[in-house]
Each structure stands twice: as C-alpha cells, then as structure tokens.
C-alpha cells in the first residue's frame, strides 16, 4: 500500500523509518470508480493525491462544453489542483477517474505540519514541482513549435502506458485537437 509512494519519495530524499511511518500516518487511502469525481469545479482542493493504481485526469470544462485535459495521472504519479490548493479558492478545474483507481491523499493542514516536523518534505516537493515545471515548459514548447502529428507521436512515445489506458478522444483533448483530427492523423500515420 505504501511501497510505491516510498519508492517515489526516495528518488529525491532519504527518510528514516520513523519519518516515513509518521508520513504514512497522515495519508488516507481512497478508491474511486470510473467517472467519479475527486474534485469538481467550484470546490476547494484540500488534498494532494498520489496514485497507486488506475487513472485520473485533471481537466477544464470550457464555456462551450469542451473538455481540456491538463494532466493524466497513472500509478506513481502525483495529481492535484495547485491553484485552488495554494489559495483555498474554488477550483476552476475538475479531477475525475478514467479507470478505477486507488490513491493516497494528504490534506493541506497535515502537509503543513509535515513540512514543519520533517523539513525534508519541503525539499521533496520543491524538487517535484521543479520537475513538473520543466514538464509543463516542454508541453508549452510543443504547442508553439510542433504540429499536431508531432505532438501526438511525442506523447505516445513519452507516455506509452497512458496511451494504453486512455481513449482517443481524451488524448485529443490533451493534445489540443478535435477527436476527428486525431483520427485523421492516425490514419495518415498508418499509411506510412
């Protein structure tokens, strides 16, 4: 139950057994089935979430009913709504489940306590956010620099495990194109 998250955290910091036990005592295990919501627009996000299994997505629902996907999260990924989490203001985004999922939650208040008691966690999340920041930069550059076809190929190359789990129109909503366009792109590619 905690081995995956232990491994994940050990990538950036080293914890004593006592520290890790204390950390896990703050975690809540939760399961949600497909199509259930971890967070809805208008709610304040009180948790950071680490995925043990399944698949979640963080997305925005635009005025005209379009879904724009900010992030998919499968096993070993963190997901949350940072803007709402930081400011305690209502979220403009949704987080829901694409494939029955098990995950661990830590609340903002517990996390603040954790930061005070085990400052190494500040370091862990500092590094984690620095890496996430780089990933978003890469995605922005992809949007500026690459065609839809290139972005698609990069995605399935970089995240083959996600491509497995996620239906095509969701991938389109992540890549910033319409499902019809992704279908045509794939048709093109299959002829090569």
């Amino acid at each position: 139950m905690f081995q995956l998250i232990h491994q994940n955290i050990s990538r950036h910091i080293t914890l004593t057994a006592a520290e890790f036990d204390y950390f896990t005592s703050l975690l809540k295990l939760k399961r949600l089935r497909k199509k259930q919501f971890l967070l809805q627009e208008g709610e304040v996000c009180h948790y950071e979430c680490f995925v043990n299994s399944g698949c979640l997505r963080h997305y925005y629902l635009s005025a005209n009913g379009q879904e724009h996907i900010m992030q998919f999260a499968v096993a070993d990924w963190w997901i949350g709504e940072q803007s709402s989490f930081l400011t305690d203001e209502p979220s403009k985004y949704f987080i829901d489940v694409l494939e029955d999922a098990e995950f661990l939650l830590i609340s903002k208040t517990d996390l603040e306590t954790l930061y005070t008691r085990v400052p190494k966690f500040e370091r862990f999340f500092r590094i984690a956010f620095q890496n996430s920041y780089v990933a978003l930069q890469r995605r922005i550059l992809a949007g500026l620099n690459q065609t839809a076809e290139e972005r698609y190929l990069d995605f399935i190359n970089r995240y083959p495990d996600i491509e497995q789990k996620v239906p095509q129109h969701q991938l389109a909503a992540y890549l910033g194109i319409k499902p019809e366009s992704l279908s045509r792109i794939r048709k093109q590619l299959s002829g090569k």
Copy 2:
C-alpha cells in the same frame, strides 16, 4: 541592491537579518546590455537569476530559425533554465537581454549550501515553483481554449509592464503566432 529581492523573498518566508546577510553574500550582481546572452544553447545553466531592472527572455530557437519565447522577466522576476540547472545537461534554450538589465545570480552549489544551512529557502523555492507551475498551467489552458486574440488581450491585461517593454514580434513569439497575425489582430481590435 538587495531590497527588491528581500521584499520578494519575504512574500513566502521570514528571515533573520543574519540569514538574509548570509544569503546576499552568495549573490553576484551582474549587468548585461541589450542582445547579450546570459545563457546559450549547449551551455549548462549554473545559476538562478533574480532581475533587479531591465528585461530578459528565455526562449527556444527551433530548427527552422523560429524563436519561441517561454518567459519574459522584468524587475522582481526570477528566471533560469530549470531543465539544464537540475540535470547539469546542456541547455536547449537561450536566455538573453531585451533591455539593459541588472540582476543577481546564485550558483547551484551555493544554493545547495543555502538549502542545508537555511532550510527555509527550500520552502521559498517550493512555493515559488508551485506558483510558477500554476502560471504555466494557465498558459497551457490558454493555448487549448482561447483564440490568439483572447490570449493577446489576456497577456496585455495580466502583464501590462511587460507589454510596454517588449516589441510586438517578441510578444507574437510568446503567444505562439506570427508577427503578421498579431498585427492583424491589433488592427481588428483598434476598430472596436
């Protein structure tokens, strides 16, 4: 010389005079003139940079010679190349000066020492990156959800100070459109 950065850091953490003095002892003041480079593609980025005055930009030069701007930085902004900084690998990006600039640098090794001696700085940069992450998310969403005209209006509304300093074709390179297109968009808008 250090008052702006003191103010900047005090937004997230509180330092004693001794801690702040120690911090500033690690900073190097530097000035560069327009068109000079702080970092070139292929170099490893060894510094985080805080801007006192002037204007810098972080950009990517694509194979066909196009510039894609990831970030502008004016007074009170941090700028750096996180990917190279984190991994010690050569940068794929450039950082150069758009308007004669004065800024403060802290090296990676000094920063690591600082983290150990004054762990509050882990917290500072954790929060800073969390905020930066949110800003990039917003930009990605803008790319998915908004027209070029909407992105332009949002930009000049959100960063009026940057719009002042930056020539139009640079703004286009940030918004992900061609200079000609931005010119047409502005013409459209002026007729409203």
